[in-house]
Symmetry: C2
Subunit: 497 residues, 2 copies
């Protein structure tokens, strides 16, 4: 990855057997699996192991050239401190030219632009979700066929709203998440809510600025049971469908695009192929005035000095530090730390620890300056490359990027995951070609050719950029074609009661 | 509720206007809503306000006879201490005779008995849930009609499995919850799981004693994409359907029944009609050798002295104290306390604070001695009346009672909630007749006639007991007839990462 590195990874499918000799003359001392690291020279116990030109830990014993370097042979360094960090030292504007490209989007009354034309129905509390799901199924079957310009109807299902410590300071996170999901540009400015009546999360608290609210409240006197409630939900939904059906896609500049970027089921190729290529695509979008979000606090915590250096101002650097410190405390309160990240699959894929994983994760943010920080559940208020301070958990991160206003989701994966959301198209990029071949009807873009040297990162970035625009314009992802999607997962740091 | 009380509640639908005179000659000084409390005599500032023969707080100013007593006029007492509690002082066995009744259940290989014949499919991680939901929909449409003795197919969907602090001590709670839900008697001893491959919650950790496990792992080399994965899930499911379809209901003694009891959307009638009647039914089941579970830690915390007194032994009392103390700490860690319970609907319904709510909640446990405590997510290991130490959140409590092995769920409600689970029939009991009339196609049993003096608690208890047995034998609840149900909500006290 860098001339100063003392390790490299085995790119060959299936790995390489002991005794293999590389073109540079290095002999492998043992079998090394694909994606795993090999010592390029002799590394003494205690010496730094460098990848991406940063230390990813120290050798836990002497490792001769050609040794396999895995999590047991590498000591995780302590988390970087939060003082004396470089502030805005590497925040030069991109020199890339804006792209002339446009996409076909749905313009909303508030000026935002959606990539899909969906009716979203918010529930204040999980109690209502059984009846709401029933009503949504009937809306899909009985009403949607009459409104062919509407892409779909969905309930923002969640397990929040009651039985929670709603007066806890942290309760604002799940509450604003729900509020901002309802306001996502893919829902066309329509707001429809379903409430039980006695729940803690009252509609007036969820939507304080929306009065009157288009609301079905089950406990209202006029709601005389199941049939009446379902009929009420369907009638209100049809009003929205009639309006949404009038809308048409219009040519839109890339500056109106908000792209959520995420990785999941990562391997050692994530930082070599899919993530840096996505970083190039992100730079193209940002250079064209658009917005990209990267996230996953526990996966960037170990590279905090890179983030503060790329912050566009000391205020943005301060926001970054504050949110990373907030997460340190949140994890400590639960008796864990950032080493709780890395999964069995990460390690099997060659990622030895969270420091190494962090370097491969951050690289998908490209090289643009970091123009702002979005608090968990908040909506992005400015353009450019933004850090959305969310957990690394795929489902939680996706839910919070949706709340931040993302209208296209790009998800890179090394091990393979079918993760996707219903509310925004999720483009899946594989880090390796064998995954893309095997999962031919799940992976939308194969970044594997970068590892084989057939395609440059710049070329792959252009492919991803083009696919993002095509998807934003209505091209369906594999997940959309199959009709598969994951549930929302609200981030609630406060207790259940 | 008790001769020593200095308050009573207004039972009349719509409440009573100022100036109303009760049969005892008490004149109301102001309008008092239905379910709300009235001072039966003059109460001086600082004097105890007693309901159910316990203090529910002190008067915050002088309250003449006929005054409305609500949450603003009542000061919540501090939580009872955990030392010097009465231990097993009121744990006499029930004097009730066992009932000769039986129900028609499905006997399982491990000796447990289910009330439904369901195929449940466990997922180790949320990543797989989109494809799994797609496969389940196809199983229902294409396979289930061929196996008419099988009641249904469902995925145990959840947001756990990765992106969580799985090495935290508290992680055992959500993990054993998933494990024990799969083992619920309503799933006929079949175990089928779906895994991604790289997730933190590996199948071998979720089911350490099940090897080989009937497992579809998406990342296995042989799974060449979406179609292949769906085909694999459907083929394995059909094997289970063939076996489950051979089963028949058999007459079964009440001693094999496990009933989860819960209340939600409570009002001041909860403690007068539905909950004490359910307590009678619980006593009937326990006297017949069966098992009932009551729960909702924050709703019993204020009556801890009643629970320890009813504990069958000092060991059981110690378990009770330990779990209630664990919750005190859990809430304190999040910066809140048990006063986070009571909802806007509770207060509108006349429940002034958590102490008053607690008294009405505990009463559904009847008068049997408490034979044991079930830790959150654990399976009940003995018979009799058990305290399952779960949060009061309806969805979380229901999920944990399912894990504890409940096969019928009984849910009392005053304000009205359509809550139900897919994995066990949920009988809903209203506290008031006007709710039962209005929600005529959601409420299964109306306990309102108790308040009107037309039906005794003993008679209503018998009605509930009979309905539990009929439901256990296959009679469908309203929710089952409509096909509505809520999602599972795992209790995860550990951080998301």
């Amino acid at each position: 990855m860098h001339p100063a590195d003392n390790v490299a990874i085995v790119a060959n499918t299936g790995g390489l057997p002991s005794g293999s000799v590389t073109p540079d003359g290095l002999t492998l001392l043992e079998r090394i699996p694909q994606g795993h690291k090999v010592a390029l020279g002799d590394i003494a116990r205690g010496q730094e192991i460098r990848r991406y030109d940063v230390s990813i830990g120290t050798a836990s014993h002497d490792l001769p050239a050609g040794s396999w370097i895995n999590e047991e042979r590498l000591t995780l360094p302590p988390a970087p401190g939060m003082n004396r960090l470089p502030i805005a030292t590497r925040a030069a504007p991109l020199t890339r030219k804006p792209r002339p490209a446009t996409f076909l989007g749905y313009r909303n009354p508030d000026g935002s632009v959606g990539t899909r034309n969906l009716l979203g129905i918010t529930s204040t509390v999980q109690c209502v979700s059984g009846i709401l799901a029933y009503a949504v199924a009937r809306i899909r079957a009985e009403l949607l066929p009459k409104y062919p310009n509407v892409d779909g109807v969905l309930a923002h299902d969640h397990t929040y709203g009651c039985g929670v410590a709603i007066d806890s300071q942290d309760a604002e996170i799940p509450i604003r998440t729900l509020r901002n999901i309802a306001a996502n540009p893919n829902f066309g400015g329509a707001l429809m809510a379903v409430s039980l009546g006695c729940e803690k999360l009252q509609p007036s608290r969820l939507f304080p600025e929306r009065d009157p609210l288009d609301l079905v409240r089950f406990q209202d006197e006029r709601n005389s049971g199941f049939d009446a409630i379902v009929t009420d939900i369907m009638a209100r939904a049809e009003n929205h469908l009639q309006r949404l059906n009038q809308r048409e896609r219009q040519p839109t500049r890339v500056s109106e695009l908000v792209v959520g970027m995420q990785c999941g089921g990562s391997d050692a190729f994530s930082g070599v192929t899919a993530n840096p290529a996505l970083g190039v695509a992100s730079d193209m979008i940002v250079a064209s005035g658009g917005t990209t979000l990267f996230s996953e606090v526990t996966e960037v915590r170990d590279g905090i000095e890179q983030l503060t250096a790329r912050a566009i101002s000391s205020d943005v650097a301060r926001d970054l530090i504050d949110w990373l410190a907030w997460y340190d405390l949140y994890l400590a309160r639960g008796g864990v730390d950032r080493s709780a990240n890395t999964t069995p699959g990460n390690r099997a894929g060659g990622l030895s620890n969270i420091r190494e994983k962090a370097m491969g994760s951050i690289i998908k943010s490209g090289s643009a300056p970091i123009a702002g920080v979005v608090a968990p559940g908040a909506r992005a208020e400015r353009r450019g490359l933004l850090f959305a301070a969310t957990p690394a958990s795929d489902f939680t991160c996706g839910t919070l990027q949706l709340a931040a206003g993302a209208t296209v989701h790009v998800f890179t994966t090394g091990r393979g995951t079918p993760y996707s959301l219903e509310a925004m198209p999720t483009l899946k990029i594989s880090t390796r070609s064998d995954l893309a071949r095997r999962w031919h009807d799940l992976i939308d873009i194969d970044a594997g050719p970068v590892a084989e040297g057939n395609v440059s990162l710049e070329e792959m970035g252009q492919i991803i950029f083009d696919q993002i625009l095509a998807t934003a314009s209505g091209q369906r992802t594999w997940a959309e074609r199959h009709g598969i999607h994951n549930s929302l997962a609200l981030f609630n740091p406060a207790p259940v009661t």
